[in-house]
Structure formats: structure tokens, C-alpha cells
């Protein structure tokens, strides 16, 4: 039935000849499993293009909507977490397999004449892959997005002569904002994919033109066609990689940090793992030498990589005859790995993961929210979104004022909350949307949370939350014991006459004083 139709199609298009040329490529004898990495990359790039195209169905590239649209994709869209997970973890997989593919090509000397241009197009593809990672950062409009983009643009600003102009073009104006998000989105979903597809086509064309390089020492025997002899190896490895990627997607959660907030000075920015070595390198070049770590060394490394076919020009591909060049590449890889390890070791005490913890103010908000009357409207099936699905992009300030003066939004019997309580409830609502509730706090913890959110937070910080006018209380137990802390909170001037902290002995109950002193003494 289909045969006559396919014959008709072949007579008009000649597709069978084209397909035959594509699949019947003769491979050198001994072409083995190492030569499957390119096909794995092709598979992963296809997954990225497909999942990216479908993510665009829901993603909205504006500061008011980007974060909430990513939350919607992750939490509410059918299979959204999996599709976003494939895109998110797939990006890391591509970097891993691009590095493995590159190392295979270097180890086998496959870049040597006449394959110099194949190699150059491959190096170009590696840079494109990293550019995809960088431009994709900004799109969720979370804290990491904002910080990473600010640092990236400041690195570009170091470019001699044209640095300021380049930075302005990357931002789309004098400040990082809506125009920056728009143009990075356009670069990520239109310009880079178009260039990538073109470069992949050129890479594959050049690979076919010169043929697969094969084993480093030519073996005798009959050349085998790509299909099915080598294709079965390719598909086996692709299936294996797909299973591992699927496991990451199934068990892992694609990262989404708190929404971008330039006023949060407690945030500790860290890039994606594959940029950690570059991030660490920037620490070692102080003052005017910063350009060395930011542009000169990375630029030289890329130039050396690109020029490899002209550096390693000998006729031999056998690794045993090229120990010097392989040692050099190995040293480069070891330096990259060591810098990444040092970067992990240098993480400050308050890291991004710590910000995911439930903070005292959010706990207090949980206790106050029952009095605030939010549940009159914000329930599942109610007239407005329930608390878990509240849009966050209006910002913490809007949310706080909405809670403090609810009748400005909807006149009615909802009682206004005290501003401090509104702050705490806003923190609770924001935190609620980033994970499940923690275990119920004990009576002592409840007392501490309320006291902290109502009083201490005005001057002190705890776990990165609060004001900076007094000492950070996160590790206060290392310096003072329970009794000293209780006496100090009761009347600081009795211990230190010039103390600026007000006395709380007549403000808090003895139970509250005991609770907060014990809690702080345990903070070590």
C-alpha cells in the first residue's frame, strides 16, 4: 500500500539516494564506542531545542511575569516540571558530553589535517553551548539570574576600548531591566539556535566530507557502513544517556531561587557548576589586573584550543607519540577542575541553599496569618488565587501593603494587620511557594518566632533575614551563654551602660525571655 506512494515520492525527490548517502557512510575498520559521543551530543541538542520550543508556550519574558510563568511551568502545567527538568538538566549533560567529545578528539588526534575546520566548528559549538547556558540564566528572573547577568555584563565591560558600549548593548540601556530580559530571551530562543543549527550542519558536513578519523593506528579490514553496524552503537549509548537524564529529571527539581531582588544584600551568588572555575579565577587578580582573570586567560585558553591543529602538527595520531600535547591539555583540565573545587570550598557561611530554610519571620507569619483574614478570599476555588499560587512578581512591598491595608484592594471586613506582622505574613506567603511546610514548631519555637519577627528583626539579622543595625544573631551562641543573653535582653544597660539596645524586661513575658535566650544560646 505504502510502497507505490514511496516510489512516487522517490521519483519526485530522489530521497532514497539522499538517505543512502547519509546512512551508507563507510567507516574505517576499528571505529568503536568512543565515536558515539557526537551522536549523544546531537541527541541532547535536539532535546534542548524541542523542550525549549515548548517552554516558550508558557514563558513570558517580562519582569512582571517571567518568574511567575516559570513557577507556573514547574508547578501547574501538565508535565511542566519534567519538560523544564529536561531543559535544565539537559544543559548540564550537554556540557559534560561536549567536554568528553572534545577530549576524545584531542586524545585520538582527530583534529589533524585535513580536519582543521571540523575542529574549529566544534570549538565554536562549545562556545555556543556555554553562551546558551549564560543567556538561559536570566530568563527565570530569580536571584541567581539577576546576579549572574550583572557579573557577566561587568566582565564584558572590561573589554578594552569598547567595554562600556558592549555592556550597554547587552543591557539594552543604562540599567539591568526589562530590555535586558527581552534581548537575552531573543538571543537564547532565536539568534543562538539559528546560529547553532547552522554550525551543527557545517560540522556534520565537514565530518562527512573528510570521513570519521577512526582508530589512531589504521587497522586492516573491510570498511563497514554506518548503518546498521555503527548506528546500533550510537543508539545504545543514546538510550543509556536518555535513561540517566530521565533519572535526573524524575528525581531532581530544576532550580528556581527567590525572585530577583536588587535590595537583598544577603544573597550569595554562585554560578552554574560549569562556570565555577571561571568564577574562582576572578578572585586571584586584584585591582586593575582583573581583566587578566576575566578576559585574558579565558581568551588565551580558547585561542590555544582553537589553534591546536596548528600546534600539534606532527603526522602521528597515536597518543604515545604525542605525550607533550596531551600532558598540556590534561594540565589545563586539571586546573579547571581544581579551580571549581576551590570555589566550592570557598562558599561563604550564608549560601543560596541556606536562604531556602524557613526563617523565623516566615514562621511568625504562619502564626499571624490566621488573624489576618487572608483565607476569606485566598482559598482553593475562592475568588482569587490561593496562597500557594499567589503571583509574586508584584513584589514583597506590594504584598506587604496589601496585607497591611487589605481594604484598599477589596473593601470588607478583613482586619488590617500591623506593618511588622504584614512583613512576616508576606515572607510566609513567599516562602510557602518554594516548598512544603516544615514540621510544626514547638511552643518555645513559636514564642521565639513571634518575638523575633515583632521586635528583634528591626535591628538584628538571623539566617540572613532582618536589619543590619545590630549584631547578626545567627551564631550568637558561640559568644554568650543563656544566662548572659537573658540578662542582656532584659536590661542591656545593666551589663554595658553605653549599650544602645533598649531593655525588653518589661516588654516580654518571663516565658518569652526564657525562650528567646535559650534559642539564641543554641545558635552556634
Amino acid at each position: 500500500m505504502t510502497r507505490p506512494l514511496l516510489d512516487w515520492l522517490d521519483r519526485r525527490t530522489g530521497y532514497r539516494i539522499g538517505l543512502g548517502r547519509l546512512l551508507d557512510e563507510p567507516l574505517p575498520p576499528g571505529t568503536g564506542w568512543w565515536f558515539t559521543l557526537g551522536s549523544v551530543l546531537l541527541f541532547l541538542l535536539t532535546v534542548q531545542l524541542l523542550t525549549g520550543a515548548f517552554l516558550v508556550l508558557y514563558y513570558a519574558p517580562t519582569p512582571d511575569h517571567a518568574y511567575d510563568s516559570v513557577r507556573f511551568i514547574t508547578d501547574q502545567a501538565m508535565f511542566g516540571r519534567l519538560v523544564r527538568g529536561l531543559h535544565y538538566f539537559g544543559a548540564s549533560f550537554i556540557v559534560v558530553f561536549a567536554a568528553l567529545h572534545l577530549l576524545r578528539v584531542v586524545a585520538f588526534g582527530s583534529f589533524k589535517a585535513p580536519r582543521e575546520l571540523t575542529w574549529l566548528s566544534g570549538v565554536g559549538l562549545l562556545l555556543f553551548i556555554l553562551a546558551f547556558g549564560l543567556s538561559g540564566y536570566l530568563l527565570p528572573w530569580d536571584q541567581r539570574a539577576y546576579s549572574a547577568t550583572a557579573v557577566t555584563i561587568n566582565i564584558a565591560k572590561l573589554t578594552p576600548v569598547l567595554g562600556t558600549q558592549i555592556a550597554t548593548i547587552m543591557r539594552g540601556g543604562p540599567d539591568l531591566g526589562a530590555l535586558t530580559l527581552n534581548r537575552w530571551y531573543a538571543v537564547h530562543v532565536i539568534f543562538l539556535p539559528a546560529l547553532l543549527v547552522g554550525l551543527v550542519a557545517a560540522h556534520l558536513y565537514l565530518m562527512r566530507r573528510h570521513g570519521i578519523s577512526g582508530p589512531t593506528v589504521a587497522k586492516s579490514g573491510r570498511a563497514l557502513p554506518f548503518y546498521p553496524d555503527h548506528a546500533v552503537r550510537d543508539i545504545s549509548v543514546v538510550v543509556l544517556v536518555a535513561i540517566v537524564l530521565g533519572a535526573f529529571v524524575w528525581h531532581g527539581m530544576p532550580a528556581l531561587e527567590p525572585m530577583a531582588d536588587p535590595s537583598d544584600t544577603t544573597y550569595v551568588p554562585r554560578p552554574e557548576w560549569y562556570f565555577l572555575s571561571l568564577f574562582q579565577l576572578l578572585k586571584y587578580f586584584p585591582g586593575r589586573l582583573e581583566i587578566v582573570g576575566a578576559l585574558v586567560i579565558p581568551g588565551l585558553a580558547v585561542a590555544l584550543l582553537a589553534l591546536l591543529p596548528w600546534i600539534d602538527r606532527g603526522p602521528h595520531r597515536n597518543p604515545g607519540a604525542r605525550k607533550g600535547i596531551l600532558a598540556l591539555v590534561g594540565l589545563g583540565g586539571a586546573i579547571v577542575a581544581a579551580l571549581a573545587m576551590l570555589s566550592l570550598r570557598d562558599r561563604p557561611a550564608i549560601a543560596a541553599s541556606d536562604l531556602g530554610r524557613w526563617q523565623a519571620a516566615a514562621f511568625a507569619g504562619q502564626q499571624w496569618i490566621g488573624d489576618a483574614g487572608c483565607a476569606r478570599c485566598h482559598v482553593e476555588g475562592g475568588p482569587v488565587d490561593d496562597l500557594v499560587h499567589q503571583p509574586l512578581t508584584r513584589g514583597a512591598e506590594w504584598l506587604t501593603w496589601h496585607i497591611a491595608t487589605p481594604d484598599s484592594i477589596l473593601p470588607g471586613p478583613v482586619p488590617p494587620a500591623k506593618l511588622r506582622q504584614a512583613h512576616a505574613i508576606a515572607k510566609y506567603v513567599a516562602r510557602l511557594q518554594r516548598g512544603p511546610l516544615p514540621p510544626a514548631p514547638s511552643e518555645q519555637e513559636q514564642a521565639v518566632d513571634l518575638v523575633f519577627a515583632d521586635s528583634c528583626i528591626l535591628c538584628h539579622t538571623l539566617d540572613g533575614d532582618g536589619a543590619h543595625n545590630g549584631p547578626d544573631l545567627s551564631r550568637i551562641g558561640q559568644r554568650h551563654d543563656r544566662d548572659w543573653l537573658r540578662n542582656w535582653i532584659t536590661n542591656p544597660k545593666a551589663i554595658k551602660p553605653e549599650a544602645q539596645m533598649p531593655a525588653f524586661g518589661s516588654v516580654l513575658t518571663p516565658r518569652e525571655l526564657d525562650a528567646i535566650a535559650s534559642f539564641l544560646a543554641d545558635r552556634r
Binding site: 557579573v151 561587568n154 566582565i155 548593548i169 530590555l179 544584600t265 550569595v268 550564608i350 543595625n469 547578626d472
Partner: protein, 149 residues
């Protein structure tokens, strides 16, 4: 002769399109940033030698998008003068945070350290923290610190 005509026509079309699209993409449409005086803190908020982290609201125009962005500035009083410091690290633009234990500003990205006046103590920053212009506005007996951003 004919080949030259074809090449010239193609080159003209290409150059026109490139100029049009290049100008469209590369010439940022946002207006120049305009300075604003913003209230940062009440004078009574300030404490001797301890930078006050003031959250300010800055009007921003990004092309079609107008918003008020929340920022932090550090307002300090050394007993003689009030100054305001931008929290943006002069190295690569991360936000520094005040550590009351060491009385220093620390950059969480690449380890830059500044003293309470914003001068570089250690690490990679090439310049001190940017000082913002300040002025005092009195309203009766109450004074406010305004900063220019």
C-alpha cells in the same frame, strides 16, 4: 559587467538591511538615566560608625517598561559627616553586605573587603565603594538624609 551589477545590487541590499537592523538592535532605546534625589534615612536612624542599610525606591524607565525598583544604600555617620555608599562591589558588581563583627563590608562573590568608609581593605576590587551625593532635608525638628542615585 552583468556580474558587477548583480554583486552591487546584492551588496547594497545587504548593507541597507545590516544598517537598519544593526541600528535597531544595538542602539539602546532607553533614555539616559536621570539623577533622582531619594529619601534614604531619618537622621535618628544613624549610629556612630555603623552603616545603616537603607532600602530606597528608585523610579526606572526601561524602554516601554516603567517601574520602581527597591535598592539598598549604606548611610554612614562618622561623627562629622554623613555619607552614602553604593553597595555595588567595584570588582564585578555583586552586592556587598555589612558585617558588624568585623566592622567591614564583605563581597560574597569574589571576597572583596571594604572598611566602613568604603575603602578597599583586601581582595580584588580595584576601587572603593562608590560614594553617592547626599543632602539633609529638615522638616520641623526632624531631618532626613537624601541620596542622589
Amino acid at each position: 559587467m552583468l556580474a558587477a551589477v548583480i554583486h552591487s545590487a546584492l551588496a547594497s541590499i545587504g548593507a541597507t538591511l545590516a544598517s537598519l537592523l544593526g541600528g535597531f538592535a544595538l542602539r539602546p532605546s532607553a533614555a539616559e538615566r536621570k539623577d533622582q534625589w531619594v529619601r534614604a534615612a531619618a537622621i535618628t536612624d544613624l549610629r556612630l560608625g555603623v552603616p545603616h542599610a537603607a532600602t530606597i525606591s528608585v523610579a526606572q524607565i526601561h524602554g516601554w517598561y516603567r517601574t520602581h525598583s527597591q535598592r539598598v544604600v549604606y548611610v554612614t555617620w562618622d561623627g562629622q559627616q554623613i555619607q552614602a555608599l553604593s553597595p555595588i562591589c567595584s570588582h564585578l558588581g555583586c552586592q556587598v553586605t555589612w558585617d558588624p563583627r568585623t566592622s567591614q563590608f564583605h563581597c560574597p562573590c569574589h571576597g572583596g573587603v571594604y572598611d566602613a568608609k568604603g575603602q578597599v581593605v583586601s581582595g580584588p576590587p580595584p576601587d572603593p565603594l562608590t560614594r553617592l551625593d547626599t543632602k539633609i532635608e529638615m522638616s520641623g525638628e526632624n531631618g532626613s538624609v537624601l541620596v542622589r542615585v
